[in-house]
């Protein structure tokens, strides 16, 4: 019972925080893109335009929800739900701090402490394909269908290098538990430095998984109108939109957890802080790292143009997959040599 209550509280808090961050991430993206293009960006609604996102969400709620007459209405409504829930549920296993002593309970700062966290992540990210593909198929529109098919092909291709680059990390830490993986990266023993190739392949693959530029082919506007969500309007479209950003947050926190030391603040234990303070510092460290990776996501988007479809496939199968395999061999060799 106690476990149940603690979990519910954690879920509610984390969900609220993530949804708030998602909405504001849209604002941040618009501001950063504006800055990169020497513009000002949204600044009319509220101070510095901070209320832009609530205004947009409100607008999307008020808009008419159009379902094409030839669409499959059930799947058409189901697809955005799949998209957003997959994006949010993946966050459940991400540890955002050590454990704290709260009101006499030992509370771990992650929602679900599963011992196969890495497998859980891989399983759920592959589920994400369904949201995109089903939305493309159920809309009964050729552009949506093409977008959905592209998404399926792209996500499956990059899933492989995503999984393989995680295996290097799993080999080093000898565990599928994310908590343990983070603990292993104390000091500056970040996996990004131990397996740099794996780090790069993971980042590239997560860009492809989140459908962000330079891999946003499923929704390539110039070719596919809007891609898989062409036939969506109102809050259903908004859900897809939010799912993209929720995915970004999940992907960033995974990058941080797996490769950038998670909530570890280098050499925190040597400062001798009280336990509560140390936890606060850990959570803040995690948030800061995620914020940096998110900025990197946005920065990349406004720098690199979109790939062509054949380039995308070539990169996925002929470059990323071999690189991930090479990374495995090198990591295995280094472990055999007793270096980690």
């Amino acid at each position: 019972m106690e476990f149940f209550i603690i979990s519910v509280i954690k879920i509610v808090i984390v969900l609220l925080i993530i949804l708030t961050v998602v909405a504001n991430l849209v604002y941040v993206e618009r501001k950063v893109s504006a800055a990169i293009q020497n513009r000002i960006g949204p600044n009319r609604v509220g101070p510095w335009g901070l209320l832009q996102s609530p205004a947009d969400v409100l607008k999307l709620f008020i808009k008419e929800d159009i379902v094409p007459s030839t669409a499959n209405p059930f799947i058409h409504s189901l697809a955005p739900v799949i998209s957003i829930s997959v994006a949010l549920v993946t966050f459940a296993v991400v540890p955002f701090g050590g454990s704290v002593e709260l009101f006499g309970h030992q509370v771990k700062l992650m929602i679900a402490d599963v011992n196969i966290g890495v497998l859980y992540i891989l399983a759920l990210t592959s589920l994400g394909v369904y949201g995109v593909t089903l939305s493309g198929w159920s809309s009964n529109n050729k552009y949506s269908l093409l977008g959905g098919l592209r998404a399926a092909a792209q996500l499956i291709s990059y899933e492989l290098s995503l999984g393989l680059s995680i295996i290097g990390v799993v080999m080093i830490s000898g565990s599928l538990e994310l908590d343990r993986i983070v603990e292993m990266q104390s000091g500056f023993q970040w996996n990004a430095f131990l397996t740099p190739i794996g780090f790069i392949t993971f980042i590239v693959a997560s860009f492809a998984e989140t459908n962000r530029l330079p891999f946003d082919l499923p929704e390539a506007e110039p070719e596919l109108v809007g891609g898989y969500h062409t036939e969506y309007s109102g809050m259903k479209f908004g859900t897809f939109f939010l799912a993209e950003y929720a995915n970004m947050i999940t992907a960033s926190s995974l990058i941080v957890t797996l490769f950038l030391g998670g909530w570890q603040f280098p050499f925190l234990e040597t400062f001798g802080l009280p336990a509560m303070m140390a936890t606060v510092v850990q959570v803040l460290t995690f948030v800061t790292k995620v914020a940096f990776v998110l900025f990197f996501f946005i920065w990349i988007r406004w720098t690199i143009p979109r790939f062509r479809y054949d380039q995308l496939m070539n990169l996925g199968w002929k470059v990323m997959l071999p690189l991930a395999l090479v990374n495995l061999v090198i990591t295995g060799g280094l472990i055999l040599a007793g270096l980690f």
Binding site: A35, I36, Q37, N38, R39, I40, W299, I300, W302, T303
Partner: protein, 171 residues
């Protein structure tokens, strides 16, 4: 070897590139630095309704009638109405005794929904009585409001000084 004043760059072929260059990484890093530098540079945005733009005198804003010493210069010859490709101008001439000219426009209307700001009326006018102003804010909530009569069209020579000088120079 120059095109548009720029030095022509040597063509880069894929076979000449090293593996490091082929990996895109140096170019991506270069691009990232470039975009990051842009963040720190001054912004171009004009905060429009607060920060009004005054066009240069060569700008063709809405056509207006020139008012000199309290009366319009127009002699109601109807040339502007004849030349207007959008048929936006309507002139109704009338005779007068007290003015220096014999004819004056009793009614002069420009339908601003029709006008395409081509400036032909200004060119055709023998009296330099209709010129293009620098006003570009045209908002109406119904079609009747879009037909500008004399009271809206008249502008004094002081207000149009820059445009009239520009016309003197460029004609």
């Amino acid at each position: 070897m120059t095109t548009n004043g720029q030095q022509k760059r040597p063509q880069i072929r894929k076979k000449d590139l090293s593996l490091w260059q082929l990996s895109y990484i140096p170019e991506i890093i270069k691009g990232m630095f470039l975009t990051f530098k842009q963040i720190l540079r001054p912004k171009f945005t004009r905060q429009y309704p607060e920060e009004h733009w005054t066009p240069p005198s060569s700008y063709r804003g809405r056509p207006v009638l020139v008012e000199e010493d309290g009366v319009e210069r127009c002699v109601a010859c109807g040339l502007c109405a004849r030349v207007c490709p959008a048929l936006a101008i309507e002139v109704q001439a009338s005779e007068t005794e007290e003015l220096a000219k014999e004819r004056y426009p009793e009614r002069f209307e420009i339908n601003m929904l029709r006008c395409i700001f081509c400036g032909f009326c200004e060119e055709a006018c023998p009296e330099e009585a209709i010129v293009m102003s620098n006003e570009y804010e045209l908002v109406f909530s119904n079609q009747e409001d879009a037909i500008f009569g004399k009271e809206k069209l008249l502008m004094t020579t002081e207000q149009l000084k820059e445009r009239l000088e520009f016309l003197k120079e460029s004609r």
